[in-house]
């Protein structure tokens, strides 16, 4: 039977944990709003760029140079997988689901006889893959802090990827990240970054083609496409980073909300236990006094 003092200490410590988790929830909520705004602000740029690209994609006939970002290398042997996780924990299943999904993807690709390399983004996935697949990591990016550094951080990643791509280190690049669905739910998503997957926007493309057919291009279609493709890779990375950032804050908010509620329940049950113990103690003392008085 724990003493009254023990229970009291326990209540206090759970109480301070509750204070911390509820503060973290508040912080995550305000950060979530900020990252949502950022993601919102990036949308016009990326959607415009995609529109332009889809109207130009048809003109990419040859598979030389930069155009390879669109048409692919023609091979299907070497993969690079980029899991995008958070730098910090305490956000529920956010990081572990990314790691699990990536691990599964890598295993299934390897099962098909492909060579897979990894380029983790975020401390949590870097640490995880450092433990399980250390020799497959070619590079990693941590402490990106996308909501304050902005586009710069996405540029670093996309430049590195393109450098590797043109050195023919890989044929396909797949991003694994948490897609922000709502403040409380994220969905682990895979997206093929290189070569560009235009099939998903095919329907739009047809629609676009009819209206874009009469555009004049300056200097010419191919030059624009050559400028456009690397930018598109960067903006896709940027979009993914922002989504993941918003998702992280959302996940943390939900996790901390749960923790706060659990702490509250724990305090309630501990308080009940405390009161019962106190009551029992008083009763015991009374009995002792009464029986003492009776025996005189």
């Amino acid at each position: 039977m724990p003493s009254l003092k023990d229970i009291k200490t326990q209540i206090n410590s759970v109480g301070s944990t509750k204070k911390i988790t509820s503060a973290m929830k508040m912080v995550a909520a305000s950060k979530l709003r900020r990252s949502q705004e950022k993601a919102e602000a990036a949308r016009p740029y990326s959607s415009r760029l995609e529109e332009m690209l889809s109207s130009l994609a048809s003109s990419a006939a040859s598979g030389e140079g930069i155009i390879k970002l669109l048409t692919g290398t023609g091979n299907d042997q070497n993969y690079i997988v980029v899991p995008v996780s958070a730098d910090r924990g305490l956000c529920g299943g956010f990081n572990s689901s990314i790691n699990r999904e990536t691990f599964k993807l890598v295993k299934s690709l390897e099962g098909n006889g492909k060579k897979v390399q990894l380029m983790p983004v975020g401390k949590k996935s870097r640490d995880f893959f450092n433990r399980v697949m250390k020799d497959q990591i070619i590079d990693s990016f941590v402490d990106l802090n996308v909501s304050s550094t902005g586009y710069e951080s996405a540029l670093n990643i996309s430049n590195k990827l393109q450098e590797l791509y043109f050195d023919e280190k890989f044929d396909k690049c797949i991003l694994v990240f948490n897609k922000f669905k709502s403040a409380i739910s994220q969905e682990v998503t895979q997206q093929q970054l290189i070569p560009l997957d235009v099939s998903s926007s095919e329907k739009e493309e047809e629609k676009e083609n009819s209206s874009n057919a009469i555009y004049d291009y300056e200097p010419d279609e191919e030059t624009i496409l050559k400028d456009l493709l690397p930018k598109n890779v960067s903006i896709q990375v940027f979009k993914v980073l922002l989504e993941s950032d918003a998702g992280e804050q959302g996940a943390r908010m939900a996790a901390m909300d749960n923790a706060t509620r659990n702490a509250g329940e724990m305090i309630d049950s501990l308080t009940l236990k405390y009161n019962r113990t106190r009551q029992a103690f008083i009763t015991k003392e009374l009995i002792e006094i009464i029986s003492g008085a009776e025996s005189i």
């Binding site: 602000a41 902005g150 004049d216 200097p219 030059t223």
Partner: protein
């Protein structure tokens, strides 16, 4: 007089969105002046100045863009630029310092930045288009 709607978009936000009288953008093959009713053009941009004018050709705003794309149709002009700075916020001495630093590095990557920085300096120095 007719107006044309103009959007200046960077990856991080929408910088300008309004109806204007005329825009000058730095096309890769030369500057493009865009008036309402312009034919449909898609152009890539070199680093340079984007000038925005009101209906009576008074200069409203001027920006420096590090390159990007412009999509133009008779009603609308959209400029997508990776980095956008308002010209009035640029400091000549800072840009000059940046150029000096980049020149001493002598790397391929720095080279690209150097071109942009030099274009930035030009943009600050040049005054044509300020009044038309």
């Amino acid at each position: 007089m007719a107006k044309i709607s103009f959007d200046l978009v960077s990856p991080e936000n929408l910088i300008f969105n309004d109806e204007v009288g005329m825009i000058i953008v730095p096309g890769k093959d030369g500057d493009l002046g865009i008036l309402p009713g312009h034919s449909k053009v898609m152009s890539s941009l070199r680093p340079g100045r984007v000038m925005v004018y009101g209906e009576d050709k008074n200069l409203l705003k001027s920006f420096f863009v590090s390159g990007g794309f412009a999509e133009i149709n008779p009603e609308k002009c959209i400029v997508l630029a990776e980095s956008v700075e308002e010209l009035s916020s640029l400091e000549k001495s800072l840009v000059e310092k940046e150029i000096q630093q980049l020149e001493s590095q002598n790397e391929i990557k720095a080279n690209e930045q150097l071109l942009i920085a030099k274009a930035k300096l030009d943009a600050i120095n040049f005054t044509f288009y300020n009044k038309i």
